[in-house]
């Protein structure tokens, strides 16, 4: 019942946007940075604000009826403070700049951590809320900074967070100010990883024992830590000496590589193949086995390393059938 009402509301909203873009003014995607100003900040009293105004009315009637001027003064003072809080509320959003959105790719089924970067124009901004769909977060900004919104990412491909609603009920919760931004931004969602993938498909008659040797031995060099390096490759002793994280670099053994090709995976559904390939990409990367990707329209030669992994996952994420 509730869900159908919600979907009806969404449909109505979409229809309104289609028909009356001038009214909603929300449809256009805009480039960042976006500065919130009075043309796009909306204000309405909250339910609590309406409740307080009813109470103020009762107080006013009481003070007038008893002809009690000090009581009237007190009522006026409270009413004026309550009413003027609308300016503070407006000031919470006014001149707030959203200058960047950032998100590291995540895998489908997980949550996209969308970093929203703000410039506060040298004013502390209290109790801001940002929401996109069901995801929402509340935070304070004392200086320029970022907030992280966790958006569920159900499908691989491009994820558009869509309209973001920036709102605040600061200072007293009597008025809500809000603004919509529809940033030109999309984050890439990698395919879902198969939970328990079979071993890597080594070309020819390579034995698993050989694969293990490849993975474990032949320490070639140490390099600086980069985001995404598996923790077990960190050279803890060497890191402790150098005061920065170092990672063990293994020798890549040419000629012993895996070729990841969906065509070899007969008997699996299309999305399941992509899932498995993605899982294999990650597995090969952690075991330091060079891997190549053969997709119908993308060919990536064998290689190793973060950039290679991202390229492969990206190709898989954008394989036909991905979210637009």
């Amino acid at each position: 019942m509730n869900a159908s009402a919600a979907s009806l509301k969404t449909r109505l909203f979409e229809a309104a946007e289609l028909r009356l873009p001038a009214l909603t003014r929300l449809k256009r995607v805009e480039a960042l940075p976006v500065v919130l100003d009075r043309r796009r900040i909306y204000v309405l009293p909250t339910r609590f604000g309406l409740m307080l105004s009813v109470l103020l009315l009762v107080m006013l009637l009481g003070a007038l009826n008893y002809n009690n001027n000090p009581a009237l003064l007190l009522t006026c003072l409270l009413a004026a403070a309550a009413y003027q809080s609308v300016f503070t509320a407006f000031g919470t959003l006014n001149r707030l700049q959203i200058h960047a959105l950032r998100a590291e790719p995540c895998h489908a089924g997980g949550e996209l951590e969308l970093g929203i970067h703000f410039h506060t124009a040298a004013r502390a901004r209290h109790s801001l809320h940002v929401s996109a769909g069901a995801a929402q977060i509340g935070f304070d900004l004392d200086a320029d900074g970022a907030a992280t919104l966790r958006i569920p990412a159900p499908h691989r491909g491009w994820l558009r967070p869509g309209r973001l609603r920036v709102s605040s009920e600061y200072p007293f919760g009597l008025f809500q100010v809000w603004s919509w931004i529809n940033p030109d931004f999309a984050a890439l969602v990698y395919p879902r990883l198969e939970a328990d993938p079979p071993p890597l498909p080594y070309a020819g008659a390579t034995s698993p024992a050989f694969a293990d040797r490849v993975a474990g031995d032949e320490l070639a060099a140490l390099r600086d830590y980069q985001a995404g390096d598996p923790p077990r490759n960190i050279a803890w002793k060497a890191s402790a000496r150098r005061d920065e994280l170092l990672v063990k670099e293994f020798e890549t053994l040419r000629g012993h590589e895996v070729v990841l090709d969906p065509a070899t995976l007969r008997g699996l559904a299309y999305e399941a193949r992509i899932s498995r390939l993605a899982a294999w990409v990650c597995m090969a990367e952690t075991r330091r086995v060079p891997y190549a990707l053969r997709l119908p329209d993308v060919r990536i030669e064998a290689g190793l390393g973060d950039a290679h992994r991202h390229a492969c996952l990206r190709a898989l994420a954008l394989a036909p059938g991905a979210a637009p």
Partner: protein, 656 residues
């Protein structure tokens, strides 16, 4: 239902503080039967929070919810009206706090505390209470802010609340001044009386004692011209005729205006003045002896006391004219004579005997009898506020046994003696004296200035005022009750304290004048300068809207205005340096960096290195360190301010 997040510690504490502050003014006034359980509720609440903060179960709450109405009905007799209603509101508010654990509950509690806070003003609306309650509003706002922004410290919440309140003051004043007042109450005006001390229609030994230690102002007076001397300031209140052996009372029928021969002959000048009466919950109006007219809405009785038709529930102002030298009732009607000689049979035989002896001794000469009585009282009696208790024959006990008392004992005994001696006499109650406030140029008369004296009727002179207290203690009349009471005054009536309080009374008077008595009439006179002579509802509303819009417009501008200047103090100082250079003829090109500018300055003034030095300093401050020390920026700013450059010559300006 969506469950709301629980309150943080700061949020709960601020909410509880707001609720407690709202209940506090009531707690001081409520009977202990209700105040004590409310206090216990607060203690319970604290305990519950301290123990981990779960909601109390229904079997605890329900009896509590039922308990308070029962207690209130037990004490007041009903649940409605000002006193029981506010008691119930306090109790319910405290109960609400007990089950407050999320934001919605807290908001409801804070909203309701605002209402309870306001209702405290229905009982006491003095300046101090109002100021305190307005300050309490800041706490309420702080609690609301804490609910909204849970991550900030409570000090910042409090500061924000106070600032919001201060910022709201102009708009609040504007609404207060222009909001149209009701011509008549929408529902029944309050009929329940607040127990206030004040003059009564009954005087028995000891009834005035409470009054004499009460320092609250009774009324204030502004004289048109010169003030009569202090010892002549007898403010006439109820006149008491009937004596039943223990108490003096006023016959009911005398309240009606009388035209049966009451007359005043004025000798000497008249005195005009304006009286502002504090609310007394009674009907008496006070006037200087002897009033020549009755203000509108009041009648002057046969005994020259003024009675208002409506009860004085709010501060009231009226103009009066009195005659200090007068001749009242040269002819006494038989009815009045009989009344003024009435004595209860079977009381005070010794006093009657004494009066009879004087009557025989002075052959009925009233003047001599009055003199003899005053001499006796002056010689043998003492003035004190700690009068001993009197028995059944109160006049006998006082005259022959205790011989210690204050005005009401003296006037009662004296009037009794006169009547027993065959001289028509009556007791007049009212106030005597007052304190002149030289800054405000007005007199304030306090309840402690209450006084009782006598009037005797003498052939050919009419009613003559005789103050037996003055015979005992001339200070009472010259310097007031405190001076007369000597060591028996309470500590808070010490001289220096009273002097200070009398000075401070100016503020109270201003409050009375400007706020409490602000009414439709004053509202209209405010608008007269703007050409609005008869301000009715639409015009007042319009005025309020215009003034309010101006204020709101100002606030809107304030919020939307562009930030004053980009950059920090260092940039500001550098900009100043550039302006100085430009005035001297070296205008910085927008494309010039500081180093280029320094080179140009060096080329322009090869002899002096100071300006160039300053630019170099700026470069090192701006670019050589991440965050320059504030002292170094200050030094730089001062050096820029001290820099003197020669004014630009036309030639130099052209060349640059």
């Amino acid at each position: 239902m969506k469950t709301l997040p629980a309150l943080t510690e700061t949020q709960f504490r601020l909410t509880a503080a707001a609720v407690f502050v709202a209940v506090l003014p009531h707690l001081l006034r409520l009977p202990w039967l209700i105040a004590l359980p409310v206090l216990v509720l607060f203690a319970l609440c604290w305990l519950q929070r301290w123990r981990g903060g779960t909601r109390p179960p229904a079997w605890i709450k329900l009896p509590l919810v039922l308990l308070f109405p029962i207690l209130i009905i037990f004490h007041y007799g009903n649940l409605f009206g000002r006193e029981p209603g506010s008691a119930l509101a306090c109790a319910m508010l405290a109960l609400k706090l007990l089950e407050t654990d999320n934001r919605r509950d807290a908001r409801a509690a804070i909203c309701f505390s605002a209402f309870v806070l306001m209702s405290a003003l229905l009982f006491d609306n003095s300046l101090w209470i109002t100021a305190l309650l307005c300050a309490a509003l800041a706490l309420l706002l702080a609690a609301l802010r804490a609910l909204e922004s849970p991550r900030t410290a409570w000090r910042r919440d409090l500061r924000a609340g106070a600032l919001a309140l201060a910022g709201a003051l102009p708009l609040a004043l504007c609404a207060f001044v222009f909001f149209p007042r009701l011509a008549a109450p929408l529902w029944g005006a309050p009929t329940d009386t607040i127990a206030r001390t004040g003059l009564g229609e009954r005087m028995a030994p000891g009834t005035m004692q409470e009054l004499l230690i009460d320092d609250s102002p009774a009324f204030r007076v502004v004289f048109d011209g010169a003030t009569p001397p202090r010892e002549e300031l007898y403010w006439r209140g109820p006149v008491l005729w009937n004596f039943d052996g223990s108490a003096w009372t006023r016959p009911e029928w005398l309240a009606a205006p009388q035209h049966d021969g009451t007359q005043v002959r004025v000798r000497g000048p008249r005195v005009g003045y304006e009286v502002t009466l504090e609310p007394s919950e009674r009907h008496w109006l006070l006037a200087l002896d002897v009033p020549l007219l009755a203000p509108a809405g009041a009648v002057r009785g046969a005994d020259m006391s003024l009675v208002s038709r409506t009860r004085i529930d709010a501060a009231t102002r009226y103009r009066m004219v009195s005659a200090p030298n007068y001749e009242l009732d040269p002819v006494l009607s038989p009815l009045h004579r009989r009344l003024a000689l009435q004595l209860p049979p079977g009381f005070d035989p010794r006093a009657r005997a004494l009066a009879q002896r004087w009557r025989d001794e002075f052959k009925g000469d009233p003047g001599l009898i009055v003199r003899a009585a005053l001499d006796m009282i002056g010689a043998q009696f003492t003035y004190t506020l700690n009068a001993p208790l009197l028995g059944r024959d109160s006049v006998d006990d006082f005259l022959f046994e205790t011989k210690r008392g204050f005005c009401e004992h003296f006037s009662s005994a004296f009037t009794f003696l006169m009547r027993a001696a065959g001289i028509p006499a009556r007791v007049v109650t009212g106030y005597q004296g007052g304190y002149f406030n030289p800054i405000g140029n007005y007199w304030v008369v306090r309840q402690s200035d209450a006084h009782a004296w006598s009037e005797v009727w003498l052939e050919g002179r009419g009613w003559v005022r005789v103050d037996p207290t003055a015979a005992v203690s001339p200070q009472r009349v010259q310097f007031g009750a405190r001076a007369a009471a000597g060591a028996s005054v309470p500590w808070y009536q010490a001289d220096w304290l009273m002097a200070m309080r009398n000075q401070l009374d100016l503020v109270n008077r201003f409050w009375n004048d400007a706020v409490i008595q602000f009414n439709a009439l004053r509202q209209q006179s405010l608008l007269t300068p703007f050409g609005i002579v008869r301000a009715d509802y639409p015009q007042l509303m319009l005025a309020m809207l215009v003034a309010g819009s101006l204020l709101l417009g100002f606030f809107a501008w304030w919020v939307m205005r562009a930030p004053r200047r980009a950059g920090d103090a260092l940039d500001a100082a550098y900009a100043r340096l550039c302006r100085k250079l430009a005035r001297a003829g070296t205008v910085r090109d927008p494309a010039d960096g500081p180093v280029t500018l320094a080179a140009r300055v060096a080329a322009r003034w090869p002899a002096r290195g100071d300006a160039q030095d300053l630019i170099t300093q700026y470069v090192s401050l701006r670019y050589a360190c991440a965050l320059p020390a504030p002292e170094r920026i200050q030094t730089f700013t001062r050096a820029v301010a001290a820099l003197r450059l020669p004014a630009a010559t036309p030639l130099a300006a052209q060349s640059s």
